[in-house]
């Protein structure tokens, strides 16, 4: 189980980073969301995986580590705030700059055939 879990964390990280390296803001937001899943799973796993061991007293034989859970819980909520902030920033950037490229301008492309104007205002 641990191997599978680790594989999933690695895959989510890879997907998140690939998307975070894209040039358009929305892809970056999606990438960061994927990355925050990976981070949360990773942090959670630092308390080790346990089945049927919720950290609620007198409900089970053994308890999973509650500390990483508490940390991840707030991380999820803060992660939402961060995603929201980034996405609104992306909208604002598009509104003010007329395109949704992370650099604020669409860079010159050597092969201009595929380029398409991002700002449709």
């Amino acid at each position: 189980m641990e191997g599978m879990y680790a594989f999933c964390v690695g895959l989510l990280t890879a997907c998140g980073i690939f998307l975070a390296l894209r040039g358009r803001t929305f892809s970056v937001v999606i990438g960061l969301t994927l990355l925050s899943y990976a981070v949360n799973l990773f942090l959670f796993a630092s308390g080790r995986l346990k089945l049927n061991a919720a950290a609620v007293l007198e409900q089970s034989e053994q308890y999973s580590d509650p500390l990483p859970q508490a940390l991840v819980l707030t991380a999820i909520v803060i992660g939402f705030a961060m995603t929201a902030f980034v996405v609104i920033l992306a909208m604002r950037a598009r509104a003010d700059l007329g395109n949704d490229h992370v650099d604020g301008t669409i860079p010159e492309q050597p092969n201009n055939t595929t380029q398409k104007s991002g700002g449709s205002q």
């Binding site: 191997g3 990280t13 950290a55 089970s60 707030t74 999820i76 598009r94």
Partner: protein, 932 residues
């Protein structure tokens, strides 16, 4: 002796006084500014008697004892001499500047800088610790920069200040390196320890490095060749600054450094070679250039360079008597040069020019000032009965006793005499060219005598020139002896301070210098013609050229690495991170640890496969944004399932509800963003990014596998054991959030609130057009609020709120709590927005989300503060059990109030974000100026 600590800090306090008193009259400001330096001088002088007896005062204030940091000061003969010079001449400069500065100049600012500089200089000479000494040393560079650039509207002031700062700052860095090596070699940064370990240092392999680095610091500060060029350019400073910094203090700091470390570093061939040769060259070059200056201050600046070279040469000779002569010349040069600078300032002030080609025959207009200047120049030239003569005589004597250059040793006295000739020549020029030699040419104003009190500082200094020159041992004998003893870290050799030593070689050298100098000045036209053949090179231009070419080179490097592409920066950052992580992972021998793995079941495999497929699908379809969003939400869903599977019900609930709000948020955002991403990454970039992403994914996967398969040594046992007894709850996660780590949570909801308010402000000024069709050109659906959704959601609202209340209340003991309940409530309200629209909601739900965030954080904070009332620490919780008829036993905990604050903040923040964003899509959007 605790008053010692106060010595340097009294002037520091004094920096405030001119700033405060500048609003009063200039005279009042000057007097009040002078009060603290005068008090400091009094305190210093009150210790003089004991120091003359051979005592040495030291004081230490521990600062950070754990790492050996302390404030350490010492007052010995050398420090006493310099402190008197700094404070005494400083006081005279304060008086002088009162009359020199015009009404346009901010006198408060000037005095504040001046006193700051005074503080820094005092710190340098009184420090008893190497690092502390260096700190004050740098402070002198910075404060002198402020003083030189005081007339910041003038280009040459800015350039001169920058040049001085660059040269002395670079030297300061070399000095720091030298002092660090020195301290490590000795094993102590205490000055006394260093001075006492001269043998150890000279035997050490680090010695050459230390000497070179420390001397670099001293030479740059004291304008020694080849670093001398900054000093003439610093003459753009107001003249009181030149009189203070460039005669008595700042440039003497380098000399002080050499004298201070004399017992530790001097007396080797290396020291002799570097110091004496540098001094000799500087002595000659400065004297030669001084003769050809047309600017009064330029002449004085180059003469200062020359005299500093003379002192350096003396310190490099390696004999104790030479060191005594050096100390004596420090005193004499400070006195006559400060008065000459002040006289030059008076001439400039009262005639409007400093150009010696214009200034002629001023004797008629200002005979009194002329007399003072003549006495001071005579001292500079080394005329008998002046103080300058005495130390120059000692200098000549010492050059005769040099044998360090072997059979070539006779070079030194000959070259010294040559320097003396130049000195007489330029001193003569200062007198004759300015006060005689015909009539003034085209002066901006008619020259006249300065105000009475502007002359007073010059009078005092010139009187000192004479008194020291005639009664040397009576006036400065004790001070010189004490300073010489301190410099040598032992008793000084016997010497005599008499004017008349009989007919001997030094006297002959003086005579040759005097006659030769007068002769040279008389025939100066030939020399000037000779000099005119050389192309003039302005060191300022050369320096600026070097700086500019450095800037160009730096710019080139910057454009190589920084092209403004965020993608590239992220790539490099991640690449660096993965290299650092991977290299330490290689030290781990096995990936798998000792901990047994949980067996895999079919359901988990299914979920894992689904997760992987959805994650990959998100990447593959990321250009079709709505599709990517859908696959992304599948990932989120499975993540929450994973939390549920691995015994984290709280996390699962949170993740689930956050997932809902996130997807709603992203869909709303997508309304205003392009629906599709253009294909613009080149195949090379895709391959590059894919490789890096896979590499990082692999590294992170390995770390998590290695982590999970190793046994856990957790600190959480404390939490599980005390959760019920200490926090009154059985849900340990919730107890940690609201009790054990409540302060963290308070910080987190504050961040949440700030983020929401930031978003609110970002949205408020957003100028976005509303797309009337989707990307395929299809119009939006006419049915904005489907009736089915409206009806169901309306009936769901009470149910959802009830669930949320239940989740909230049970949170302390069972999975749930403020975070989750807040998110559920938000989802319920958002549903109403979606189903009914903003217009409908506005009339029914009158909640101000900003106030909600504020009250949430307020309640949480107050519940923490409440424990203070009962004498407990911040955020410690209280709980008890009560019995009520019908309901039975129930628990009340103060943590619940805290959780209520969390709840309110979460609801407020989420709704503030989503409701405002959603409002943009409707006609209720905030009214803005038309945007084309």
């Amino acid at each position: 002796m605790n008053s010692l600590i106060w010595l340097p800090f009294l002037p520091l306090l004094g920096t405030l006084i001119p700033l405060i008193t500048a609003r009063f009259s200039r005279t009042a400001c000057a007097f009040m500014t002078a009060a603290l330096p005068a008090l400091t001088l009094f305190l210093v002088l009150s210790h003089a008697g004991e120091i003359f007896q051979g005592e040495r005062f030291q004081a230490v204030v521990p600062w950070i004892p754990a790492i050996g940091l302390e404030l350490a000061f010492r007052l010995d003969g050398l420090a006493l001499l310099f402190a008197i010079l700094i404070l005494g001449i400083g006081l005279l400069v304060i008086l002088y500047a009162r009359y020199y500065l015009s009404a346009k100049d901010s006198i408060g600012k000037f005095y504040a800088y001046l006193i700051l500089f005074m503080f820094a200089m005092l710190g340098v000479v009184l420090s008893d610790n190497l690092i502390q000494l260096w700190f004050f040393w740098e402070l002198t560079s910075i404060s002198s920069f402020l003083l030189i650039s005081f007339w910041g509207h003038k280009t040459e002031a800015r350039k001169g200040a920058r040049m001085a700062l660059t040269v002395t700052g670079a030297g300061g860095l070399a000095l720091l390196a030298g002092l660090l090596i020195l301290g490590n070699t000795v094993g102590s940064f205490s000055l006394q320890d260093v001075l006492d370990s001269g043998e150890l240092i000279k035997a050490s392999a680090n010695y050459p490095v230390i000497v070179v680095l420390v001397l670099l610091g001293a030479f740059t500060k004291s304008a020694q060749f080849p670093f001398h060029f900054w000093l003439p350019n610093a003459m753009a400073a107001p003249t009181p600054v030149s009189a203070y910094l460039h005669s008595a203090t700042m440039v003497k700091a380098g000399i002080f450094l050499m004298a201070r470390f004399y017992p530790a570093l001097a007396d080797t061939n290396l020291w002799f070679l570097i110091v004496s040769l540098t001094g000799l060259i500087t002595f000659l070059v400065g004297a030669y250039i001084a003769l050809f200056q047309h600017d009064l201050k330029g002449l004085l600046a180059n003469s200062t360079i020359s005299h500093l070279g003379l002192i350096t040469l003396l310190l490099g000779m390696g004999t104790d008597l030479a060191a005594v002569a050096a100390i004596f010349h420090i005193i004499n040069h400070a006195i006559f040069k400060a008065s000459l600078f002040m006289a030059a300032g008076i001439i400039d002030h009262e005639s409007g020019s400093r150009d010696m080609r214009q200034l002629n025959g001023l004797w008629k207009y200002m005979p009194y000032t002329a007399t003072l200047a003549m006495v001071a120049s005579a001292s500079m030239a080394g005329v008998p009965l002046m103080n300058g003569f005495l130390s120059k005589e000692m200098f000549f004597t010492e050059t005769l006793h040099q044998a360090s250059l072997g059979s070539l040793s006779w070079f030194i006295p000959v070259l010294a005499t040559l320097g003396g000739v130049f000195a007489v020549a330029y001193s003569t020029r200062f007198i004759h060219d300015v006060f005689f030699n015909g009539e003034p040419i085209n002066l901006p104003k008619t020259p006249h005598e300065p105000p009475r009190y502007m002359r007073v500082p010059v009078e005092i200094l010139v009187a000192l020139c004479l008194v020291v020159g005639i009664f040397p041992s009576l006036v400065v004998g004790d001070l010189l002896l004490a300073a010489a003893n301190a410099t040598l870290n032992g008793p000084a050799p016997a010497y005599s301070l008499a004017i008349w030593h009989g007919f001997n070689f030094p006297l002959l050298m003086s005579v040759i210098a005097l006659i030769g100098g007068l002769f040279m000045y008389y025939n100066r036209s030939h020399l000037f013609k000779f000099q005119a053949q050389f192309p003039t090179s302005d060191p300022k231009l050369v320096f600026e050229g070097i700086v500019q070419s450095l800037v160009v080179k730096a710019q080139r490097v910057i454009t190589l690495t920084e092209n403004g592409s965020l993608q590239r920066y992220v790539f490099f950052t991640l690449g660096f991170a993965v290299v650092m992580t991977a290299s330490s992972l290689m030290k781990l021998n096995t990936t798998a640890g000792q901990r047994p793995e949980i067996p895999v079941d079919a359901l988990s495999i299914t979920c894992a496969v689904l997760l992987c497929i959805s994650a990959l699908a998100t990447v593959i379809w990321h250009r079709r944004r709505v599709v990517a969003l859908l696959t992304l939400s599948v990932v989120g869903l499975i993540v929450s399932l994973a939390f549920a599977q691995f015994s984290a019900p709280d996390l699962a609930l949170t993740q689930l509800s956050v997932e809902v709000v996130t997807v709603i948020l992203l869909i709303l955002a997508l309304f205003f963003l392009p629906q599709k991403t253009p294909k613009e990454s080149s195949p090379r970039r895709v391959v590059r990014d894919l490789s890096l992403a896979s590499l990082i994914g692999g590294v992170i996967g390995t770390i998590s596998y290695a982590l999970m398969t190793r046994p856990l040594d957790t600190i959480s046992t404390f939490f599980t054991e005390n959760s019920k007894t200490g926090g009154g709850g059985t849900n340990v996660v919730n107890v940690i959030l609201v009790d054990f780590r409540g302060f963290d949570t308070l910080g987190e909801i504050t961040v949440l609130g700030i983020a929401a308010l930031g978003i609110y402000k970002l949205i408020a000024k957003m100028r976005l057009f509303m797309p009337s069709t989707d990307d395929n050109g299809l119009p939006w659906s006419e049915d904005r609020h489907p009736i089915l959704l409206t009806v169901i959601s309306q009936s769901l609202l009470p149910l959802a709120l009830l669930v949320s209340a239940y989740i909230f209340l049970r949170g302390h003991n069972m999975p749930g709590g403020g975070f989750i309940a807040g998110l559920i409530t938000s989802v319920a309200i958002i549903q109403q927005y979606i189903a009914h629209g903003v217009e409908w909601i506005k009339t029914r739900i009158k909640l101000d989300y900003q106030i909600m965030i504020g009250s949430g954080i307020g309640i949480a904070t107050l519940s923490g503060l409440g424990s203070w009332v009962f004498g407990h620490t911040f955020l410690s919780s209280w709980f008890d059990y009560f019995y009520l008829p019908v309901i039975g036993k129930f628990e009340l905990a103060s943590a619940m109030i805290f959780d209520l604050g969390v709840f309110l903040t979460v609801v407020g923040a989420t709704m503030l974000i989503l409701a405002n964003l959603g409002q943009l899509t409707t006609s209720e959007r905030p009214i803005q100026k038309e945007h084309d």
